[in-house]
């Protein structure tokens, strides 16, 4: 069962090897919209994704996304260059002439700071109007910017270390989620939309 991505931005949290990135990759491989997966950690991606880097032309990438392609964007390992690439790509997405819905996925989103973080916040606050639906993935939710969290329509929660402090901050019922995830077993997840918890699910 693929992850229900709702109708807004998503924040996906879970420790390493909790299945969060696999679940999102598999879900996005099956959507009809274009996807750009900003692959911070150079994860392996399904064959349906087209590998792109900074050596490629942005117009080609935009054309591909418009036709529903799934782009695996592999940024530079240098964090400063990587941040510039992210900013550039987001600017390009805002400048599309055809504002069709696309997914912008940023893996390990907590690693982005300063100007790159400002750009992500811009997406989280205005991106939907420009057809940009953010999916923020992190194994360190305590380090994810508050705006990115609060502008998400829902949290997709995999197994975490359950720091109750940040769960309480967002009103996430940590104990209930813990019980559901234990019931669901390995790679299970829940969805919390600030009102209800649904799950456990598995991809």
């Amino acid at each position: 069962m693929l992850v229900n991505l709702g109708s807004g931005h998503n924040t996906v949290i879970g420790i390493t090897r909790s299945g969060k990135t696999y679940a999102i990759k598999k879900t996005l491989a099956g959507v009809k919209e274009g996807v750009i997966f900003f692959n911070t950690q150079h994860e392996e991606m399904p064959n349906t994704f087209i590998n792109c880097t900074a050596a490629d032309n942005i117009e080609s990438i935009k054309r591909a996304i418009r036709s529903g392609a799934k782009i695996n964007y592999i940024p530079d390992l240098d964090s400063k260059i990587r941040e510039k690439e992210l900013i550039f790509i987001i600017n390009a997405l805002y400048q599309r002439s055809n504002i069709s819905k696309i997914y912008l996925v940023v893996d390990e989103v907590h690693l982005y700071e300063k100007d790159a973080l400002k750009k992500l916040i811009q997406v989280s606050t205005t991106g939907l109007r420009f057809g940009i639906y953010g999916i923020w993935i992190s194994q360190r939710p305590a380090n994810v910017d508050n705006t990115l969290m609060t502008q998400s329509e829902q949290f997709i929660i995999f197994r975490t270390n359950m720091e109750s402090g940040y769960f309480d901050r967002y009103g996430i019922p940590a104990d209930q989620i813990k019980d559901l995830l234990e019931k669901g077993g390995k790679y299970a997840y829940c969805i919390y939309d600030f009102i209800n918890i649904t799950g456990p699910f598995k991809v």
Partner: protein
């Protein structure tokens, strides 16, 4: 003609400081004028030292303070421009006296 440059080319081309950083790094300027003099320290010593300054024509404290400030900006004030300005004031004063204006 479609842009055929790579993302890296475009990033490197536009890799300049943000506009607000450029403004923050520049010295204070306004319409080509150098306004750094606004940060100059005032002249040395107390105001009383300037009561008997040759340019303090009314021997007042107000004038003394202005002269101290001008010294900080311009140095010892033995400048031609100072002479011209003060001379003009003196000339105007003498003219009024000659015309019987009190």
């Amino acid at each position: 003609m479609e842009n055929s440059r790579s993302i890296l080319d475009e990033i490197n081309e536009t890799d300049q400081p943000a506009a607000d950083q450029i403004i923050a790094d520049q010295p204070i300027q306004s319409r080509g004028m150098d306004l750094s003099f606004l940060k100059a320290s005032t002249g040395s010593g107390p105001i009383e030292d300037y009561l008997d300054h040759p340019l303090n024509f009314n021997k007042g404290k107000g004038m003394a303070q202005m002269i101290r400030g001008a010294t900080g900006l311009l140095g010892s004030l033995d400048l031609a421009i100072i002479d011209i300005f003060v001379g003009l004031l003196q000339f105007t004063k003498e003219k009024k006296v000659a015309q019987g204006v009190s």
